[in-house]
């Protein structure tokens, strides 16, 4: 969802954007996010998306923040 919005903002030239996402790229991400490639697997999702989004418009700069943790971790995994 976020990537779709960012694509539409980068194309007209938003200037600067920052993605905050602690996750790494997994298999299921590749199916829904066309700004990730197979080589992205295992790397920071925020950084990989930034890299590919920046390709759309050389005048836009992307920043990634991925070293955060969620304070409220899930209360036991849903089975």
């Amino acid at each position: 969802m976020g990537i779709e919005i960012l694509k539409n903002l980068v194309l007209p030239g938003v200037g600067n954007f920052t993605i905050v996402d602690k996750e790494n790229v997994e298999e299921e991400d590749l199916g829904v996010n066309f700004f990730l490639a197979e080589e992205s697997l295992g790397r920071s999702r925020a950084e990989e998306c930034c890299k590919y989004l920046e390709e759309l418009n050389p005048e836009v700069t992307g920043h990634a923040i991925h070293q955060v943790r969620y304070l409220r971790e899930p209360l036991g995994a849903a089975s």
Partner: protein, 478 residues
Amino acid sequence: MERQADPCQSIEEFLAEPERLKQYSLILVTSPSKILGGLTEAVTYARSHSIPLFYIHSNGFYSQFSVQLPEEFPIVDTHPDPASTQDLRLLTPWPELYAFVRAKVNNLEKLSDHDHGHVPYLVLLLHYLELWKALHDGKYPESYAQKSEFRSMVRNGARTNNSEGGEENFDEAVGAVLKSLNPPSISSGLREVFEAPSCKNPTVVVRFQQPPELESATDHQFLQSANFWLIAHAISTFHQTQGVLPLPGGIPDMKAQSTDYIQLQNVYKIQARLDLAEISQHIQTLEKQLNRPTPITPAEIEAFCKNAAHVKLIKGQALRISQPPSTMTWAPSQANSLLRDLEDEDSLLPISLCFLALDQHLETHGPLSPLTATDSDALETQQRKMKWDMTQFTDTIIENLKKAATVRVETEAAQERISKVIMELARAGPAELHNISALTGGMVAQEVIKVLTRQYVPVDNTCVFDGIRSVSQVFRIG
């Protein structure tokens, strides 16, 4: 440039640091299929620093975005429909315009066919309005009947003994009668602006809000706000003393000789410049009194004057974040309006309520796992828990809405529709459908651009998309 976040820092801590967030002019939060972490902090920061924030959901066939705008969000350039907006002051002409008209219609009957057919229609209307006033006690045509009569009067002035059987400039004049002869009035949006305390007393606003240096996005926001109120105040004063808004100065295309058209255009432009100068003068005086470090640019004043009739002030609503349903409170008028909307079988409000329910479910039960049919037991359990939880939530919300409301409404049908939405959300689980997200992404990006550029009127405050029926709806939920 960016400082990388401290590896051990939590997202909530990150968002709670105003220093960290100062550089951002807008925040987008997408609802994760995990937990609510960070949303409350982001919303609180955005609210207190007057930064717009969007909160977006996309699950299965449903999506929604809500926007939290700053408490005072003025828009100058609303891009109104050009056909409906030209202010030509036909009923309040000024001396130079009168003089121009009189010169052109001097000996109207004796003009050659060519010249007669090229008298600009504005001149014709102004001329015939004078004739009408002379016959009607100095009054302009007011009622529909009178305007129709006036229209016939103009129509009869056309020469018909030519190859076209009429004259284009007279046709233009006749066509313009009904929409151009309205007494000057201001729109409700503008009236709201003029009556706001910040407009009546902008010096208070400026002193309170003017930051010494422009560092953060919030500082820019306050500066824009202060500028807006100063200009609005000056225009309001102008309107009080002159009875009209500053002349925008544009005139429509019309059949005319080039020299005449340019002359007429200049008459309008010169008056527009005079109005602008008067307003600018007033603003400069105010700014000197306030010792403003960064005076408003002439371009900004001019843009406001041109668009004055159509400016809009949006009072941004705080985002409603999901909580345990029994703790959510509703004002009676809000409850009434939501319940009434639920009565409509086409309303998409059920989807909105279910997203609140979904958020609360994630908050208490943790993330949804991306299960497939191969884990049928686990999948069934997850879905069952979701349905139960969300049904409890929405039932409680409806109960509370009914308690808070002053109207009596039947909600069984609505609750039936809500359970269908819950079924779809449970079916979808954490999955987003790419096409739904793509469409929603387009809508959100468009609203973001409207908000960042302060042009056009953005959605206020929630837009829901139902991908099963392919319909969308906008409401204000607070």
